[in-house]
Amino acid sequence: MDSLVNAEYEAGFTTDVETETLPPGLDESVVRFISAKKGEPEWLTEWRLSAYQAWQDMPTPQWAHVHFPPIDFQSISYYSAPKSQTDGPTSLEEVDPELLDTYKKLGIPLHEQEILAGVRKEVAVDAVFDSVSIATTFKDKLADAGVIFCSISEAVHEHPDLVQRYLGSVVPQRDNFYAALNSAVFSDGSFVYIPKGVRCPMELSTYFRINAQNTGQFERTLIVADAGSYVSYLEGCTAPMRDENQLHAAVVELVALDDAQIKYSTVQNWYPGDKDGKGGIYNFVTKRGACRGDRSKISWTQVETGSAITWKYPSVVLRGNDSVGEFYSVALTNNYQQADTGTKMIHMGRNTKSTIVSKGISAGKSENSYRGLVRTTPSAQGARNYTQCDSLLIGSESGAHTFPYIESQNPSAIIEHEASTSKVSDEQLFLCQQRGIDAEKAVSMIVNGFCKEVFRELPMEFAVEAGKLLEVSLEGAVG
């Protein structure tokens, strides 16, 4: 049982492209350089600088159940762009073929031809290669619907009013240490705006990938769903194999106005480090959605199998009356991975509802924690929350922890919390084997069964991918 923990990282390859990289270190001039490089308006430069000022005085968060040596933020390079990108490609043909090849290895449906030929289902992709968004597909079709889907750098120029209005409105610059850092140095990311009453005609997708050595990646994503609109957004993340730990501190902000719905799905398999715990991504991410409008809804679904350390709490602030927040999560850790992940549901509006379903799977010598906050403010008359938090242990050297926080300031609120911990037992494996199913398949089947409630929230092709990803991540976890 203990010897099935040796997953080969399939996305482990690096792309040999000339890059333009800033030397390591962070000060005001670096912030100004990044902003200037992107030709940003003055308000944004100032906005970055004020974030940088705040960040300097902030302590690193110490409360998470994760352990790692202190990060030297001066040893990180804060800007890296593929050089062939400097002029900016206008079509896929102009994109460096090596980059396209990289995406191909990852199975990203980047080629419009393939999609149009019906080889793949229509998905619009905004790909972030290190720090610059290199190619965006399906812009025209989306434009017909009035949907804006572009890199955030582009949005700063093309839709400054929207960006200025919503940027930092959900995750303020000084929200936390990593969010402040991101606000100061964010490189690129996606921007989405769905106009009033529009149902986005296709699923939107971003694939993030960390490539250059010692470059932190600081994406910034902003999604605004105007009244009565709907969007489903998919985010997939991989990073090539690296010896050094790499910092990834993204910020994602979602805004849903009256009757709007945002469904945000993530499959994250950043490089987790090798089987001895060497290398891997530090994934310190701030994700938050604001249900500003009445009857609005935000759903987070995440499948987290990668990263050496995951620190991530996709949250929903339920301000609109009758608004709904959901969080469905599968977090799998193997070898020496550490995950401290969960959510915050802040109920402010009347009759607001939230659902939390968290499935943690720990194998190898990993540590897996669920941390969740459910808060109802005095104004949250009739608020309801249901939380279900299950842990599954594989082997006997891993850890599963649950840290639920409940703060109810409204006596009419109903908050339910259920938790369970179970183990993939030798008896279960033996039963499967006796029926002809080998140990690896058996573990994968048992883990998939355990995650079923979350997988069914994922869009179809993501659900299949997620199942496969679990299988790969668990390779070598039993034997």
């Binding site: 179970s422 033996f430 039963l431 006796q434 089947m445 069964g449 355990f450 995650c451």
Partner: protein, 248 residues
């Protein structure tokens, strides 16, 4: 050549000797019963044949269809046609019975180089067997053995036996904890399975199962070895006189 040939088998569990020079031969078309007092090593025999971790063969051989089993993984033994009906079937929450049975059948067919069974065919045969065993077809949607009563779990084992069609069925005290109706259903299933091309090894503590499944040979297992073999009347004698009569 026998379907099953066990010679001078010595087995230890956690350093303790449980089987001590056991011999047994079973041919296709035969039903054998193994009876014996508690702690005589009956379940150990079943588990060591199936390759359960923790059951160590110290000496002797287990040959199945001419192949030595000792070094084979449990799933490889299953592929070869060895089936164990568990005394205490374990639950696998979240994995539906249907998914589990289909995975099992697919893997066995692949390993035996048989044609894959379509989902439609599969559903048809499972439903037919379930009906025969008085199992509500709804059970297919539930988790493997999840929330099953003791009787349901045992009938589910027999369902798997009939679906998977192994060459040798080892039933480890499948009769224990069953009421008389369930016992008859189980016996009916085993009798339907039993044929000229396969073998059945019934491990039981009580004679009552043998009223419904008539064995060709009855063995008495005591202190880790077969101390007496005979025809079905041996079981009746044991019922009447107790084990001390043969063991002493």
């Amino acid at each position: 050549m026998s379907l099953l040939q066990i010679e001078e088998l010595v087995v230890e569990v956690a350093g303790q000797r449980i089987l001590n020079g056991l011999n047994l031969a079973l041919d296709t078309g035969e039903v054998h019963a193994i009876m014996g007092p508690n702690g005589s090593g009956k379940s150990t025999l079943a588990n060591v044949m199936a390759g359960r971790p923790g059951y160590e063969v110290v000496e002797g051989r287990i040959e199945f269809d001419g192949v030595e089993l000792a070094d084979l993984e449990p799933d490889t033994r299953a592929h070869a046609g060895l089936f164990l009906a568990f005394q205490y079937p374990v639950e696998i929450p979240g994995v539906s019975n249907m998914e589990f049975l289909k995975a099992s059948l697919d893997n066995l067919h692949a390993a035996r180089e048989l044609e894959a069974v379509s989902t439609v065919e599969f559903m048809k045969s499972v439903r037919a067997i379930a009906e025969e065993l008085d199992l509500n077809p709804e059970f297919l949607k539930r988790g493997v053995n999840e929330g099953f009563s003791g009787g349901e779990k045992k009938r589910n084992e027999i369902l798997q036996l009939l679906l998977l069609q192994p060459r040798l069925a080892v039933l480890d005290e499948t009769d224990s904890g069953l009421d008389i109706d369930a016992l008859q259903v189980v016996a009916k299933g085993v009798n339907r399975f039993s044929g000229p091309d396969n073998g059945v090894l019934l491990i039981t503590h009580y004679q009552r199962l043998l009223d419904h499944i008539v064995p060709d040979v009855v063995h008495v297992l005591a202190e880790g070895r077969i101390v007496r073999s005979g025809d079905k009347d041996l079981a009746l004698d044991l019922e009447a006189k107790g084990y001390s009569w043969v063991v002493a």
